[in-house]
Symmetry: C2
Amino acid sequence: MAEKALTIILVEPQLGKNIGAVARVMLNFGLTDLRLVRPRDGWPNQEAVAPAAGADKILENVQVFSNTLAAIGDLNRIFASTARTHDMVKSIYTPRPALECLASTAQQGQKVGVLFGSERCGLNSEDISLCEALIKVPTNPDFSSLNLAHAVALITYEWSLQVTSCPSQIFRTGTTTLATREDLGNLFIHLEGELDRTGFLRHKKKRPTMIRNLRNIFQRARLTEQEVRTLRGIIRSLVGEPQDR
Amino acid sequence: MAEKALTIILVEPQLGKNIGAVARVMLNFGLTDLRLVRPRDGWPNQEAVAPAAGADKILENVQVFSNTLAAIGDLNRIFASTARTHDMVKSIYTPRPALECLASTAQQGQKVGVLFGSERCGLNSEDISLCEALIKVPTNPDFSSLNLAHAVALITYEWSLQVTSCPSQIFRTGTTTLATREDLGNLFIHLEGELDRTGFLRHKKKRPTMIRNLRNIFQRARLTEQEVRTLRGIIRSLVGEPQDR
Protein backbone atom coordinates (compact mmCIF):
# COMPACT_ATOMS: atom_id res chain seq x y z
CA MET A 1 0.00 0.00 0.00
CA ALA A 2 2.88 2.36 0.81
CA GLU A 3 4.04 2.38 -2.78
CA LYS A 4 0.60 3.27 -4.02
CA ALA A 5 -0.37 5.86 -1.44
CA LEU A 6 -2.22 9.11 -1.81
CA THR A 7 -1.25 11.93 0.54
CA ILE A 8 -4.08 14.17 1.80
CA ILE A 9 -3.15 17.74 2.76
CA LEU A 10 -5.65 19.99 4.56
CA VAL A 11 -4.79 23.69 4.42
CA GLU A 12 -6.04 25.71 7.41
CA PRO A 13 -8.72 23.22 8.50
CA GLN A 14 -10.99 24.84 11.06
CA LEU A 15 -12.82 22.04 12.85
CA GLY A 16 -11.15 19.19 14.70
CA LYS A 17 -14.18 17.01 14.08
CA ASN A 18 -13.67 17.35 10.34
CA ILE A 19 -10.02 16.37 10.66
CA GLY A 20 -11.13 13.30 12.60
CA ALA A 21 -13.75 12.43 9.98
CA VAL A 22 -11.09 12.80 7.28
CA ALA A 23 -8.78 10.41 9.16
CA ARG A 24 -11.60 7.88 9.44
CA VAL A 25 -12.50 7.88 5.76
CA MET A 26 -8.82 7.83 4.73
CA LEU A 27 -8.30 4.63 6.71
CA ASN A 28 -11.59 3.26 5.31
CA PHE A 29 -9.85 3.45 1.94
CA GLY A 30 -6.45 2.27 3.17
CA LEU A 31 -4.69 5.66 3.29
CA THR A 32 -2.57 6.88 6.18
CA ASP A 33 -0.57 10.00 5.20
CA LEU A 34 -2.50 13.05 6.47
CA ARG A 35 -0.81 16.47 6.62
CA LEU A 36 -2.13 19.74 8.02
CA VAL A 37 -1.06 23.27 7.14
CA ARG A 38 -1.76 25.78 9.96
CA PRO A 39 -4.76 23.99 11.57
CA ARG A 40 -6.85 26.76 13.17
CA ASP A 41 -7.10 25.16 16.60
CA GLY A 42 -3.56 23.75 16.72
CA TRP A 43 -2.57 20.12 16.84
CA PRO A 44 -3.19 17.63 18.42
CA ASN A 45 -6.90 18.44 18.75
CA GLN A 46 -9.09 16.42 21.09
CA GLU A 47 -12.15 17.19 18.93
CA ALA A 48 -10.73 14.95 16.21
CA VAL A 49 -10.63 11.77 18.29
CA ALA A 50 -14.30 10.67 18.42
CA PRO A 51 -15.06 11.31 14.72
CA ALA A 52 -11.91 9.36 13.78
CA ALA A 53 -13.77 6.33 15.19
CA GLY A 54 -10.61 4.39 15.88
CA ALA A 55 -8.33 5.70 13.14
CA ASP A 56 -5.98 6.78 15.91
CA LYS A 57 -2.85 5.79 14.05
CA ILE A 58 -3.64 8.35 11.36
CA LEU A 59 -4.13 11.12 13.94
CA GLU A 60 -0.91 10.21 15.78
CA ASN A 61 1.11 10.35 12.58
CA VAL A 62 -0.32 13.64 11.27
CA GLN A 63 2.41 16.02 10.13
CA VAL A 64 1.84 19.74 10.67
CA PHE A 65 3.40 22.44 8.46
CA SER A 66 3.49 26.22 8.55
CA ASN A 67 3.24 26.62 4.79
CA THR A 68 1.79 24.70 1.89
CA LEU A 69 4.99 24.45 -0.11
CA ALA A 70 6.71 22.68 2.78
CA ALA A 71 3.76 20.31 3.16
CA ILE A 72 3.91 19.18 -0.46
CA GLY A 73 7.68 19.43 -0.94
CA ASP A 74 8.38 15.72 -1.32
CA LEU A 75 5.47 15.00 -3.69
CA ASN A 76 5.92 14.55 -7.42
CA ARG A 77 2.41 15.43 -8.43
CA ILE A 78 -0.31 17.37 -6.62
CA PHE A 79 -3.88 18.30 -7.55
CA ALA A 80 -6.14 20.78 -5.73
CA SER A 81 -9.71 19.97 -4.71
CA THR A 82 -11.89 23.03 -5.10
CA ALA A 83 -15.53 23.99 -5.47
CA ARG A 84 -14.72 27.21 -7.28
CA THR A 85 -13.14 27.38 -10.72
CA HIS A 86 -10.58 30.04 -10.09
CA ASP A 87 -9.77 32.38 -12.94
CA MET A 88 -6.55 30.60 -13.80
CA VAL A 89 -5.22 28.64 -16.69
CA LYS A 90 -5.67 25.14 -15.29
CA SER A 91 -7.13 21.80 -16.16
CA ILE A 92 -10.27 21.04 -14.18
CA TYR A 93 -11.06 17.37 -13.73
CA THR A 94 -13.93 15.51 -12.16
CA PRO A 95 -12.68 13.10 -9.46
CA ARG A 96 -12.57 9.97 -11.60
CA PRO A 97 -10.11 11.07 -14.32
CA ALA A 98 -8.11 13.04 -11.76
CA LEU A 99 -7.55 10.00 -9.60
CA GLU A 100 -6.83 7.90 -12.69
CA CYS A 101 -3.99 10.34 -13.45
CA LEU A 102 -2.65 10.30 -9.91
CA ALA A 103 -2.96 6.54 -9.49
CA SER A 104 -1.10 5.85 -12.72
CA THR A 105 1.68 8.20 -11.61
CA ALA A 106 1.80 6.49 -8.20
CA GLN A 107 2.06 3.12 -9.91
CA GLN A 108 5.26 4.40 -11.50
CA GLY A 109 6.66 4.84 -7.99
CA GLN A 110 6.08 8.59 -7.66
CA LYS A 111 4.46 10.37 -4.74
CA VAL A 112 1.10 12.02 -5.28
CA GLY A 113 -1.35 14.04 -3.23
CA VAL A 114 -4.49 16.14 -3.16
CA LEU A 115 -4.76 19.53 -1.44
CA PHE A 116 -7.99 20.63 0.29
CA GLY A 117 -8.79 24.12 1.59
CA SER A 118 -10.54 25.33 4.73
CA GLU A 119 -14.22 24.75 5.43
CA ARG A 120 -15.03 28.44 5.05
CA CYS A 121 -12.97 29.57 2.07
CA GLY A 122 -11.49 26.60 0.29
CA LEU A 123 -8.03 27.10 -1.19
CA ASN A 124 -6.64 30.49 -2.07
CA SER A 125 -5.12 31.27 -5.44
CA GLU A 126 -1.57 31.08 -4.15
CA ASP A 127 -2.05 27.53 -2.90
CA ILE A 128 -3.76 26.57 -6.14
CA SER A 129 -0.83 27.91 -8.16
CA LEU A 130 1.31 25.25 -6.43
CA CYS A 131 -0.88 22.52 -7.93
CA GLU A 132 -0.88 21.03 -11.39
CA ALA A 133 -4.64 20.81 -11.88
CA LEU A 134 -7.99 21.20 -10.13
CA ILE A 135 -10.46 18.53 -9.07
CA LYS A 136 -14.05 19.70 -8.94
CA VAL A 137 -16.83 17.39 -7.82
CA PRO A 138 -19.85 18.05 -10.05
CA THR A 139 -22.42 19.29 -7.53
CA ASN A 140 -25.77 21.06 -7.56
CA PRO A 141 -24.94 24.62 -8.74
CA ASP A 142 -27.44 26.03 -6.23
CA PHE A 143 -25.91 24.18 -3.27
CA SER A 144 -22.41 23.26 -4.26
CA SER A 145 -20.35 23.39 -1.07
CA LEU A 146 -19.42 19.93 0.16
CA ASN A 147 -18.48 19.19 3.74
CA LEU A 148 -14.68 18.89 3.91
CA ALA A 149 -14.72 15.24 5.00
CA HIS A 150 -17.31 14.41 2.33
CA ALA A 151 -15.01 15.88 -0.32
CA VAL A 152 -12.12 13.77 1.01
CA ALA A 153 -14.43 10.73 1.08
CA LEU A 154 -15.24 11.09 -2.63
CA ILE A 155 -11.60 11.59 -3.62
CA THR A 156 -10.27 8.71 -1.51
CA TYR A 157 -13.10 6.45 -2.75
CA GLU A 158 -12.13 7.16 -6.36
CA TRP A 159 -8.48 6.56 -5.48
CA SER A 160 -9.36 3.25 -3.91
CA LEU A 161 -11.27 2.16 -7.01
CA GLN A 162 -8.15 2.86 -9.07
CA VAL A 163 -5.63 1.00 -6.95
CA THR A 164 -7.61 -1.96 -5.66
CA SER A 165 -9.25 -4.59 -7.73
CA CYS A 166 -12.71 -5.47 -6.57
CA PRO A 167 -15.35 -7.31 -8.55
CA SER A 168 -18.15 -4.85 -9.22
CA GLN A 169 -20.84 -7.46 -8.81
CA ILE A 170 -21.02 -10.66 -6.80
CA PHE A 171 -24.03 -12.92 -6.55
CA ARG A 172 -23.84 -14.34 -3.09
CA THR A 173 -25.49 -17.72 -2.51
CA GLY A 174 -24.50 -18.31 1.10
CA THR A 175 -23.68 -21.94 1.94
CA THR A 176 -25.45 -23.36 -1.11
CA THR A 177 -24.71 -23.00 -4.83
CA LEU A 178 -26.72 -21.84 -7.80
CA ALA A 179 -29.09 -24.46 -9.10
CA THR A 180 -27.99 -26.37 -12.17
CA ARG A 181 -30.06 -26.15 -15.33
CA GLU A 182 -31.12 -29.71 -14.65
CA ASP A 183 -32.43 -28.82 -11.17
CA LEU A 184 -34.36 -25.97 -12.73
CA GLY A 185 -35.70 -28.14 -15.56
CA ASN A 186 -36.95 -30.68 -13.03
CA LEU A 187 -38.67 -27.91 -11.09
CA PHE A 188 -40.42 -26.71 -14.25
CA ILE A 189 -41.54 -30.25 -15.14
CA HIS A 190 -42.80 -30.81 -11.60
CA LEU A 191 -44.71 -27.50 -11.45
CA GLU A 192 -46.13 -27.70 -14.95
CA GLY A 193 -47.19 -31.33 -14.41
CA GLU A 194 -49.16 -30.33 -11.32
CA LEU A 195 -50.67 -27.33 -13.12
CA ASP A 196 -51.75 -29.57 -15.98
CA ARG A 197 -53.31 -31.91 -13.46
CA THR A 198 -55.19 -29.16 -11.58
CA GLY A 199 -56.40 -27.57 -14.82
CA PHE A 200 -54.51 -24.27 -14.47
CA LEU A 201 -53.00 -24.84 -17.93
CA ARG A 202 -56.18 -26.12 -19.54
CA HIS A 203 -56.34 -23.44 -22.27
CA LYS A 204 -54.37 -25.11 -25.05
CA LYS A 205 -53.79 -21.85 -26.94
CA LYS A 206 -52.52 -19.94 -23.91
CA ARG A 207 -50.55 -22.83 -22.47
CA PRO A 208 -47.19 -22.15 -24.23
CA THR A 209 -47.20 -18.46 -23.25
CA MET A 210 -48.17 -19.21 -19.67
CA ILE A 211 -45.40 -21.75 -19.37
CA ARG A 212 -42.88 -19.36 -20.88
CA ASN A 213 -43.86 -16.60 -18.45
CA LEU A 214 -43.69 -18.93 -15.46
CA ARG A 215 -40.26 -20.19 -16.46
CA ASN A 216 -39.05 -16.61 -16.92
CA ILE A 217 -40.07 -15.71 -13.36
CA PHE A 218 -37.90 -18.47 -11.97
CA GLN A 219 -35.02 -17.73 -14.35
CA ARG A 220 -34.91 -14.12 -13.18
CA ALA A 221 -34.85 -15.25 -9.57
CA ARG A 222 -31.49 -16.98 -10.09
CA LEU A 223 -32.43 -19.83 -7.75
CA THR A 224 -30.00 -21.83 -5.64
CA GLU A 225 -30.09 -25.60 -5.25
CA GLN A 226 -31.61 -25.18 -1.80
CA GLU A 227 -34.30 -22.84 -3.08
CA VAL A 228 -35.26 -25.30 -5.82
CA ARG A 229 -35.67 -27.98 -3.16
CA THR A 230 -37.78 -25.58 -1.09
CA LEU A 231 -40.00 -24.68 -4.04
CA ARG A 232 -40.56 -28.33 -4.90
CA GLY A 233 -41.52 -28.92 -1.27
CA ILE A 234 -43.97 -26.03 -1.53
CA ILE A 235 -45.56 -27.54 -4.64
CA ARG A 236 -45.94 -30.89 -2.92
CA SER A 237 -47.44 -29.17 0.12
CA LEU A 238 -49.90 -27.14 -1.94
CA VAL A 239 -51.19 -30.21 -3.74
CA GLY A 240 -51.66 -32.04 -0.44
CA GLU A 241 -48.80 -34.54 -0.56
CA PRO A 242 -47.30 -35.54 2.78
CA GLN A 243 -44.44 -33.23 3.85
CA ASP A 244 -41.85 -35.91 4.58
CA ARG A 245 -41.65 -37.07 0.98
CA MET B 1 -34.85 16.45 -11.41
CA ALA B 2 -38.09 15.14 -9.86
CA GLU B 3 -38.46 12.49 -12.52
CA LYS B 4 -34.94 11.24 -11.98
CA ALA B 5 -34.83 11.27 -8.19
CA LEU B 6 -33.26 8.86 -5.76
CA THR B 7 -34.99 8.41 -2.40
CA ILE B 8 -32.73 7.96 0.64
CA ILE B 9 -34.17 6.02 3.58
CA LEU B 10 -32.35 5.89 6.92
CA VAL B 11 -33.49 3.10 9.23
CA GLU B 12 -33.13 3.88 12.95
CA PRO B 13 -30.53 6.63 12.55
CA GLN B 14 -29.03 7.47 15.94
CA LEU B 15 -27.39 10.88 15.59
CA GLY B 16 -29.15 14.05 14.48
CA LYS B 17 -25.87 15.43 13.21
CA ASN B 18 -25.58 12.53 10.80
CA ILE B 19 -29.11 13.12 9.53
CA GLY B 20 -28.17 16.76 8.94
CA ALA B 21 -24.97 15.78 7.12
CA VAL B 22 -26.99 13.38 4.97
CA ALA B 23 -29.42 16.18 4.06
CA ARG B 24 -26.50 18.43 3.08
CA VAL B 25 -24.83 15.95 0.79
CA MET B 26 -28.16 14.92 -0.75
CA LEU B 27 -28.81 18.52 -1.76
CA ASN B 28 -25.19 18.81 -2.95
CA PHE B 29 -26.16 16.17 -5.48
CA GLY B 30 -29.62 17.57 -6.22
CA LEU B 31 -31.65 15.09 -4.17
CA THR B 32 -34.48 16.06 -1.81
CA ASP B 33 -36.47 12.98 -0.74
CA LEU B 34 -35.18 11.87 2.69
CA ARG B 35 -37.16 9.42 4.81
CA LEU B 36 -36.51 8.17 8.34
CA VAL B 37 -37.67 4.97 9.98
CA ARG B 38 -37.86 5.22 13.81
CA PRO B 39 -35.12 7.86 14.32
CA ARG B 40 -33.70 7.21 17.80
CA ASP B 41 -34.06 10.78 19.06
CA GLY B 42 -37.39 11.55 17.36
CA TRP B 43 -38.04 14.12 14.68
CA PRO B 44 -37.54 17.03 14.18
CA ASN B 45 -34.11 17.02 15.78
CA GLN B 46 -32.28 20.29 16.45
CA GLU B 47 -28.92 18.51 16.18
CA ALA B 48 -29.48 18.07 12.45
CA VAL B 49 -29.74 21.76 11.62
CA ALA B 50 -26.13 22.96 11.76
CA PRO B 51 -24.63 19.98 9.85
CA ALA B 52 -27.29 20.44 7.16
CA ALA B 53 -25.52 23.74 6.41
CA GLY B 54 -28.57 25.32 4.81
CA ALA B 55 -30.29 22.26 3.37
CA ASP B 56 -33.29 23.25 5.50
CA LYS B 57 -35.81 22.35 2.83
CA ILE B 58 -34.70 18.73 2.99
CA LEU B 59 -35.05 18.61 6.78
CA GLU B 60 -38.49 20.25 6.69
CA ASN B 61 -39.77 17.73 4.16
CA VAL B 62 -38.40 14.63 5.88
CA GLN B 63 -41.03 11.89 6.17
CA VAL B 64 -40.94 9.68 9.26
CA PHE B 65 -42.20 6.09 9.30
CA SER B 66 -42.68 3.46 11.98
CA ASN B 67 -41.64 0.58 9.77
CA THR B 68 -39.41 0.03 6.77
CA LEU B 69 -42.06 -1.46 4.52
CA ALA B 70 -44.21 1.66 4.88
CA ALA B 71 -41.19 3.87 4.12
CA ILE B 72 -40.45 2.13 0.82
CA GLY B 73 -44.02 1.28 -0.15
CA ASP B 74 -44.28 3.59 -3.18
CA LEU B 75 -40.87 2.69 -4.64
CA ASN B 76 -40.44 0.37 -7.59
CA ARG B 77 -36.89 -0.65 -6.88
CA ILE B 78 -34.83 -0.53 -3.68
CA PHE B 79 -31.25 -1.51 -2.88
CA ALA B 80 -29.68 -1.80 0.60
CA SER B 81 -26.35 -0.19 1.51
CA THR B 82 -24.44 -2.43 3.87
CA ALA B 83 -20.91 -3.08 5.08
CA ARG B 84 -21.61 -6.69 5.92
CA THR B 85 -22.40 -9.34 3.36
CA HIS B 86 -25.29 -11.03 5.08
CA ASP B 87 -25.67 -14.72 4.59
CA MET B 88 -28.45 -14.36 2.05
CA VAL B 89 -28.94 -15.10 -1.58
CA LYS B 90 -28.48 -11.60 -2.98
CA SER B 91 -26.54 -9.71 -5.60
CA ILE B 92 -23.85 -7.51 -4.06
CA TYR B 93 -22.82 -4.53 -6.14
CA THR B 94 -20.21 -1.85 -5.75
CA PRO B 95 -21.78 1.63 -5.88
CA ARG B 96 -21.14 2.33 -9.56
CA PRO B 97 -23.02 -0.58 -11.18
CA ALA B 98 -25.72 -0.36 -8.48
CA LEU B 99 -26.44 3.27 -9.27
CA GLU B 100 -26.28 2.54 -13.00
CA CYS B 101 -29.09 0.03 -12.44
CA LEU B 102 -31.17 2.40 -10.35
CA ALA B 103 -30.61 5.40 -12.63
CA SER B 104 -31.64 3.48 -15.72
CA THR B 105 -34.81 2.34 -13.95
CA ALA B 106 -35.51 5.93 -12.86
CA GLN B 107 -35.07 7.09 -16.43
CA GLN B 108 -37.95 4.81 -17.32
CA GLY B 109 -40.11 6.81 -14.92
CA GLN B 110 -39.98 4.44 -11.97
CA LYS B 111 -39.23 5.34 -8.36
CA VAL B 112 -35.99 4.08 -6.83
CA GLY B 113 -34.25 4.31 -3.48
CA VAL B 114 -31.42 3.14 -1.27
CA LEU B 115 -31.85 1.97 2.32
CA PHE B 116 -29.20 2.67 4.99
CA GLY B 117 -29.04 1.18 8.50
CA SER B 118 -28.13 2.66 11.87
CA GLU B 119 -24.65 3.89 12.76
CA ARG B 120 -24.14 1.09 15.26
CA CYS B 121 -25.59 -1.97 13.56
CA GLY B 122 -26.35 -1.25 9.93
CA LEU B 123 -29.43 -2.94 8.51
CA ASN B 124 -30.91 -6.08 9.99
CA SER B 125 -31.71 -9.13 7.90
CA GLU B 126 -35.42 -8.41 7.86
CA ASP B 127 -34.91 -4.96 6.33
CA ILE B 128 -32.45 -6.40 3.83
CA SER B 129 -34.97 -9.01 2.75
CA LEU B 130 -37.18 -6.12 1.58
CA CYS B 131 -34.46 -5.03 -0.87
CA GLU B 132 -33.56 -6.40 -4.26
CA ALA B 133 -29.79 -6.26 -3.91
CA LEU B 134 -26.95 -5.01 -1.71
CA ILE B 135 -24.55 -2.15 -2.30
CA LYS B 136 -21.18 -2.57 -0.61
CA VAL B 137 -18.51 0.10 -0.84
CA PRO B 138 -15.15 -1.65 -1.23
CA THR B 139 -13.31 -0.54 1.90
CA ASN B 140 -10.21 -1.51 3.87
CA PRO B 141 -11.09 -4.92 5.36
CA ASP B 142 -9.33 -3.94 8.61
CA PHE B 143 -11.31 -0.70 8.99
CA SER B 144 -14.40 -1.05 6.90
CA SER B 145 -17.12 0.88 8.73
CA LEU B 146 -17.98 4.11 6.93
CA ASN B 147 -19.61 7.04 8.65
CA LEU B 148 -23.32 7.04 7.70
CA ALA B 149 -23.18 10.39 5.92
CA HIS B 150 -20.00 9.34 4.09
CA ALA B 151 -21.79 6.25 2.80
CA VAL B 152 -24.69 8.40 1.61
CA ALA B 153 -22.18 10.82 0.04
CA LEU B 154 -20.60 8.06 -2.05
CA ILE B 155 -23.97 6.68 -3.18
CA THR B 156 -25.45 10.09 -4.06
CA TYR B 157 -22.24 11.07 -5.87
CA GLU B 158 -22.43 7.96 -8.04
CA TRP B 159 -26.13 8.66 -8.66
CA SER B 160 -25.32 12.19 -9.73
CA LEU B 161 -22.67 10.96 -12.17
CA GLN B 162 -25.31 8.75 -13.77
CA VAL B 163 -28.07 11.32 -14.19
CA THR B 164 -26.16 14.50 -14.94
CA SER B 165 -23.88 15.08 -17.84
CA CYS B 166 -20.70 16.81 -16.88
CA PRO B 167 -17.52 16.97 -18.95
CA SER B 168 -14.89 15.02 -17.07
CA GLN B 169 -12.14 17.41 -18.02
CA ILE B 170 -12.13 21.10 -18.85
CA PHE B 171 -9.07 23.17 -19.64
CA ARG B 172 -9.90 26.58 -18.30
CA THR B 173 -8.15 29.53 -19.91
CA GLY B 174 -9.90 32.37 -18.07
CA THR B 175 -10.57 35.45 -20.21
CA THR B 176 -8.07 34.50 -22.91
CA THR B 177 -8.02 31.57 -25.35
CA LEU B 178 -5.52 28.87 -26.15
CA ALA B 179 -2.72 30.08 -28.41
CA THR B 180 -2.99 29.17 -32.07
CA ARG B 181 -0.30 27.04 -33.63
CA GLU B 182 0.84 30.18 -35.47
CA ASP B 183 1.27 32.09 -32.19
CA LEU B 184 3.29 29.19 -30.84
CA GLY B 185 5.37 28.90 -34.04
CA ASN B 186 6.21 32.60 -33.84
CA LEU B 187 7.27 32.17 -30.22
CA PHE B 188 9.59 29.31 -31.19
CA ILE B 189 11.11 31.31 -34.06
CA HIS B 190 11.59 34.30 -31.78
CA LEU B 191 13.20 32.29 -28.96
CA GLU B 192 15.37 30.14 -31.20
CA GLY B 193 16.52 33.20 -33.16
CA GLU B 194 17.68 34.86 -29.98
CA LEU B 195 19.35 31.65 -28.76
CA ASP B 196 21.19 31.35 -32.09
CA ARG B 197 22.29 34.95 -31.70
CA THR B 198 23.55 34.51 -28.12
CA GLY B 199 25.32 31.26 -28.94
CA PHE B 200 23.19 28.95 -26.79
CA LEU B 201 22.50 26.77 -29.83
CA ARG B 202 26.01 26.91 -31.21
CA HIS B 203 26.58 23.12 -31.14
CA LYS B 204 25.40 22.15 -34.64
CA LYS B 205 25.04 18.49 -33.72
CA LYS B 206 23.01 19.08 -30.57
CA ARG B 207 20.94 21.92 -32.01
CA PRO B 208 18.03 19.83 -33.42
CA THR B 209 17.58 17.91 -30.15
CA MET B 210 17.79 21.03 -28.04
CA ILE B 211 15.19 22.75 -30.18
CA ARG B 212 12.90 19.74 -30.04
CA ASN B 213 13.17 19.57 -26.25
CA LEU B 214 12.48 23.29 -25.89
CA ARG B 215 9.45 23.11 -28.13
CA ASN B 216 8.14 20.13 -26.19
CA ILE B 217 8.27 22.08 -22.92
CA PHE B 218 6.04 24.78 -24.36
CA GLN B 219 3.73 22.28 -26.02
CA ARG B 220 3.12 20.53 -22.73
CA ALA B 221 2.32 23.84 -21.06
CA ARG B 222 -0.72 24.35 -23.32
CA LEU B 223 -0.11 28.10 -23.55
CA THR B 224 -2.79 30.72 -23.99
CA GLU B 225 -2.51 33.68 -26.36
CA GLN B 226 -1.82 35.96 -23.41
CA GLU B 227 0.91 33.67 -22.08
CA VAL B 228 2.62 33.61 -25.49
CA ARG B 229 2.63 37.43 -25.49
CA THR B 230 4.06 37.37 -21.96
CA LEU B 231 6.81 34.92 -22.89
CA ARG B 232 7.78 36.98 -25.93
CA GLY B 233 7.97 40.04 -23.66
CA ILE B 234 10.21 38.06 -21.31
CA ILE B 235 12.53 37.13 -24.18
CA ARG B 236 12.75 40.76 -25.30
CA SER B 237 13.41 41.80 -21.72
CA LEU B 238 16.13 39.21 -21.19
CA VAL B 239 18.00 40.27 -24.33
CA GLY B 240 17.83 43.92 -23.30
CA GLU B 241 15.24 45.28 -25.69
CA PRO B 242 13.11 48.16 -24.41
CA GLN B 243 9.92 46.97 -22.62
CA ASP B 244 7.40 49.05 -24.56
CA ARG B 245 8.07 47.35 -27.87
